[in-house]
Amino acid sequence: MIPELGHFSLVLAGSLSLFAAVIGLSNTRNSMLQRSVVSMTVGQFALALLSFSALVWSFATDDFSVAYVANNSNSLMPWYYKVSATWGGHEGSFLLWILIMSGWMLALTLRGHQYPTSFFTKVLGIMALLNLGFICFSLFTSNPFIRLIPMTPIDGADLNPLLQDFGLIVHPPLLYMGYVGLAVPFAFAVAGLLEEQVDSAWARWSRTWTNMAWAFLTAGITLGSWWAYYELGWGGWWFWDPVENASFMPWLAATALVHSLSVTEKRGTFKSWTLLLAITGFSFSLLGAFIVRSGVLTSVHSFAVDPERGMYILIFLALVVGGSLTLYALRAGQNSTQVAYNFLSREFFMLINNLILIVALAVVLWGTMAPIGYEAITGGRISIGTPFFNKFFVPLGLVLAIALAILPLLNWKRTRVEALRPAVFSLLVATVFTVFIWFVLDPTSVVVAAAVGLGTWVVLSHGVDLFKRLRKGTTLPMAYIGMTLAHLGFSVCIIGIAITATQSEESDVRMAPQDSVMLAQQQVTFLGVVEVQGPNYSAQQGVFLVEPESSGSYELRAEKRRYFAGNNVMTEAGIQAGVLADTYISLGEPLTNGAWAVRLHYKPLVRWVWLGALLMAFGGFVAIFDRRYTSLRVRDAKSTKTAAEALTQT
């Protein structure tokens, strides 16, 4: 009964989004109809929530007559994994996607009074149309509520053990908040084109949502990387796997959009480019969904292969991209405004930032899609490995860091060369610091020194700017604080990447009980293996004693788990996490005479990669609370709009 209720709610939610889309996009000026779109949006969210709750209920109560539950759960699983198993497979994760889409729409209605009504109705109409497409996809190709009656299994097939983890509870919801959140700037762009209102006020409205979606996407990707690190047992944190790339591509586009929007808001220029980025960002979200859910690419975490689903998403993608780009081609030219700026200006450096991010996007797109193209053309199969991506990302990242280090010293429009003196000073300090680090670490390549030096330079130049502002006694706007935090996060991140990529120690060894090996000035002794029972698995737990030269010793336990239901084997690494370095031990397979294959890693600054990325996400969230975005009403927005237009005409 409950699953049918969920199914029915989803159908109703779909019908509501159909009506909301038709009325929202109908150009009506009837205020009652316009208000009805808002009501339908709220109703749609309530129904999506009901539908999703019904599926959660089916999981929580072990209703194995529902095919999706039977395939992705098991009565032995702890309750929290049963609940998170709701989004552990394709069908349920897409229902979560729909719920989050409806959630963003609900959030929009809370801020609706800030925007002109006709514009806002269009935004909701576009969002409803997209959601209709998602709901149809769920109902027609991946319905999670299909029953197995009368062939009801006694117990479920179990959730993939890799997913029975804290990571599954938080990673997909955050990631989807980002993916789906990019639909909001997309809808703002399309509505702006339809209403011919693309100006500074428009950019300011869009910025709040773009920042929020971007911050969620950043946090989601970061948690995914951290999860892969401790769960897959390989000790890596980024694999250039197609599915990782699928989330990285919209992130790159969204990052470019966040920056380009700031220029459109402050200077009223880059309008066409900003619109194009908003369309691109969401298109890459959809492309990501296609990559993950169609199974066209080899990946560690794509869902089961189903050409029908892939075809549906591909057609949907073609309609969304084709439709929005056609509209863009027809309307975007009208928005062009010429604003003069010279090379030493924020505008120009934002252009550099965008250019680098778009080239990076092209690299990831190429590296991800080339194997498909190659197969389609020649019939042969190829794979493109990590070296390809590294060859591009190392120089791109370094150039981006240089631009970022200079940015805080630049004014809009033009900057006098003398004003750059603090930059030169901080560069000097950074260079000295780099040389120092170079001697301490004796790095294997110049690139490490460059990355650490540039990262330091970014921190210093932002620090100098912060100091200057504080001395002037002005209160710092939240947007400025957010930006500074995000930029500091970026430098923490690249320093972490450079150091952990080159200074890590890794070895795979054969260890019998009581064997010892040295790992980065630590003596690691294998004490042996004990049997451990979990709720739905039994494990062999390798116990290791780690004795650093200086401080006290500690014990690390790495597990090899066997899950009862599917007889799946899974590795659970033992990790001693530290701000300066991680010691990471995972068990391979048992060998003869009680010996085991053991993987030992010592990874300096690996946490900085995630801490830096989380700092970026945090900066994005902080910036949302800027008074510019929270306190303005439509009336104020109109007046600033005209002011900005006056500015752009000068």
């Binding site: 993939n160 890799l162 897959l232 047992g233 199974g295 080899t298 560690v300 089961a304 292969v305 010429q338 250019l355 080239v359 092209a362 690299v363 190429w366 590296g367 080339a370 190659y374 042969g380 199969r381 190829i382 794979s383 493109i384 490995g385 070296p387 390809f388 060859k391 591009f392 795979d508 060894v509 054969r510 009980p513 004490l527 042996g528 293996v529 004990v530 049997e531 062999q540 116990v543 090899k560 066997r562 599917g566 007889n567 799946n568 084997v569 899974m570 590795t571 391979g588 397979e589 048992p590 060998l591 003869t592 005479n593 009680g594 085991w596 294959a597 993987r599």
Partner: protein, 162 residues
């Protein structure tokens, strides 16, 4: 030419040059870093060029896995169940789902003795997974039921409880 047009022309030329450059680099670098895939029949036929990093794949032949008693070296054979069999040598930790009968991918080079020296062994973390590269092979041998052997034999580690 008026300055507005001139600026637009510069921008267009600049974007064209950049995109041409980027495309050229992408083709060049991906050409250097791509690994061709070879099914067992092609490996046996000697189609892999020497000293070039490639990918190969197949089903792990039952009973062919041999572990060294002193190191992490391991040797096994890959087959397409249609007569083509080749040797693979690897040193390191095999993935959790490496099993006899399971379809796997190896990445590495072919040595002069006709042994594939694998630098990496890939198997997906899912029971029902078949690398797409191997689907073509698998289609031909649907009847050939392969049973998955557990990669951990519980008895092997029973002796050393703490």
């Amino acid at each position: 030419m008026n300055p507005k047009r001139k600026q637009r022309l510069y921008l267009t030329v600049f974007l064209l040059v950049v995109s041409a450059g980027v495309t050229g680099l992408l083709i060049l670098v991906s050409g250097e870093n791509m690994n061709m895939f070879y099914p067992p029949a092609d490996v046996v036929a000697g189609k892999i060029p020497p000293d070039q990093k490639v990918r190969a794949g197949g089903m792990v032949l039952e009973g062919s896995v041999m572990r060294s008693d002193t190191s992490l070296a391991v040797e096994f054979q890959l087959t397409d169940h249609q007569g083509a069999i080749f040797d693979v040598a690897f040193s390191g930790i095999l993935p959790d789902l490496f099993r006899e009968g399971q379809g796997i991918l190896v990445e590495g080079t072919m040595d002069a003795q006709g042994v594939f020296q694998a630098e990496e062994v890939l198997a997906k973390h899912d029971e029902n997974y078949m690398p797409p590269e191997l689907l073509d092979i698998e289609m031909g041998t649907q009847s050939q039921a392969y049973k998955a052997l557990p990669s951990i034999d519980p008895r092997a580690a029973k002796g050393d409880s703490l």
